[in-house]
């Protein structure tokens, strides 16, 4: 079917808007990458140089020479990874108990857990910092990992998932003689893989990107997580923008890889966290 001139104009405008928006959202990424590859004297060249013929990876080498970014990256990987794995297991267990098992006090426990959602992190920042200091955890992985694990949100969504899951498979396993714990680990948990994957991406990104708590809990250079590392690097290198941009590219590479590799799960997790069950 041929389109009328009016329709053609319509889709022309449509694509124009789409492309303009794409420039607004993707442009800064490209500019960051382009600047990270440039020599220092081209950073503020007038007119701006989009792709420098002198592009090289020198800035990246320089970043690793000047600050232990491999250490920051390791810290972030280790902390975000551990939090994600442990939190998912614990939340799945708790969510399963709330969805499938019958026990006295269930309603109270559930409401209590949901009520903690109303406590913003910033309100408990000071007592949490004092508590962690009291425990002697400042500048340890414990301080970065353990307080980040308990989170009502994950429990809530896993409960919702198990509530919506048909019980037949679990009942069959029960009849075959599996224990309650066995049913959870061998039947229910594997069935939860899609929702676990979506939550895993969400938890990993949230912990990789977190800034305020790592800033307070671990200020020693060796214990910095990557966001704090970027911030301190920026502070120390004032206007060496080619290095700062190289460091920023390093910091977002893992999240971008996750983003493009697991986009399906990210979109799923946003839809899920944004109210869809």
């Amino acid at each position: 079917m041929r389109k009328s001139p009016k329709q053609l104009l319509g889709s022309g405008i449509y694509y124009l808007i789409c492309i303009l928006l794409a420039v607004v959202f993707a442009g800064p990424f490209l500019w960051m990458l382009s600047s990270a590859l440039k020599p220092a004297n081209e950073i503020f060249a007038n007119p701006p140089i989009l792709i420098s013929p002198n592009s090289s990876l020198n800035n990246f080498q320089e970043v690793f020479r000047q600050a232990p970014f491999e250490r920051y990256m390791f810290n972030s990987f280790f902390v975000a990874g551990t939090v994600t794995v442990v939190a998912l297991l614990l939340h799945a267990m708790a969510g399963y108990a709330l969805a499938r098992l019958d026990f006295p006090g269930k309603r109270v426990v559930f409401i209590g857990i949901i009520a903690t959602l109303m406590i913003p992190f910033y309100t408990i920042l000071i007592p949490l910092a004092l508590l962690v200091r009291e425990l002697g955890w400042i500048n340890t992985y414990a301080a970065l990992i353990i307080p980040a694990i308990p989170h009502a949100f994950g429990i809530f969504w896993l409960r919702q998932f198990f509530l919506g899951l048909p019980t037949e498979l679990e009942e069959a396993a029960r009849i075959d003689g599996a224990s309650r714990i066995g049913v959870f680990f061998l039947v229910a948990l594997p069935l939860a893989r899609p929702v676990l994957a979506a939550l895993a991406v969400f938890f990993f990104l949230a912990n990789w990107d977190s800034f305020l708590w790592p800033l307070i809990a671990a200020n020693e250079p060796d214990m910095r997580m990557v966001q704090v590392g970027i911030q301190s690097f920026t502070g120390e290198h004032g206007s060496a923008w080619e290095l700062i941009m190289a460091a920023s590219v390093i910091a977002i590479l893992p999240t971008l890889a996750l983003f493009f590799g697991l986009q399906r799960f990210i979109v799923a997790s946003v839809k899920m966290t944004g109210l869809k069950g």
Partner: protein, 317 residues
Amino acid sequence: MSTLDPTAAIPGSKTRTGASQRLRGMNRDRLEQAVVAYLFLLPDVLGLLVFVVGPMLLALAISFSDWRLTGAPEFVGLKNYEIILKDPKFGASLGRTILYTLGFVPAVYTLSLGMAVLLTRRGRGNTFFRTIYFMPVAMSMVVAGVMWRFMFDPGNGLINEMLSSVGLPTLQWTGHVQSAMVSVLIVAVWKSVGYFMIILLAGIQDIPADYTEAAAIDGANRWQIFRFIIMPLLRPTSFFVLVILSINSLQAFDQIYVMTRGGPAQATYTLLMYIYEKAFREWNFGYSGAMAVVLFIMVFALTLIQVRFFRSSDVRQ
């Protein structure tokens, strides 16, 4: 917490017989269920008690005390709250937080709704554009802040170069009192829009096509379909998005810390910046704690609305 103790939980049945009889009367499966349930709940519930509920109670206690880095905390009653009422810096930072919210919430909502509507149109490359618009969500607010500070460079930053190349006047951006808040807002909006676009897009796609098709057959144009079909049916999603946006913007911190540290001349000094600096620069936990409680009450009011909403969607399931 007594509900976590399996032995305390056994008298669940309503019979008036003795404890041992009740134990025998309870079948093995119910006992197993209860034991497994408490076991499964224990780590998370314990974690929430120690790292969320406990600190929350402590936060209230701290707000009633005079507590600095050195020296023991001292109970001072409502004194911190009285100081808050008279503290011009508190009023000013609260005002800036509200200003930020008034900029952030409508901007993100309008843009993400517009983009969601744009992407519901069946066109080639929709998935591609969705991916691009969503990209900033994968970036941390810290890196976004650093990157935009570079582009906002008052000297020869990319943005100013672009403005001057089309003959527009350049700006100081984060360097000037009048444009600093706008700069910070641009970054936050740029970073957040993709996320809410996805939520609103999902909401729009949930609307049965019959409704919009029926309206189109009745002669409604695109604007009328949007205004009288999509918008009313999208109201629950919109409401949810607006509440989340308000809560987020009351707690804005990362990009401000990275881009301006609250400056210049405190032009971007929001409530959370003040709370942070009082506690972790001046080490005045009591006063900072009281301000945190005030912030909590504001966020709480918004969250109550959200929880009510959550509950209604819970019932539906």
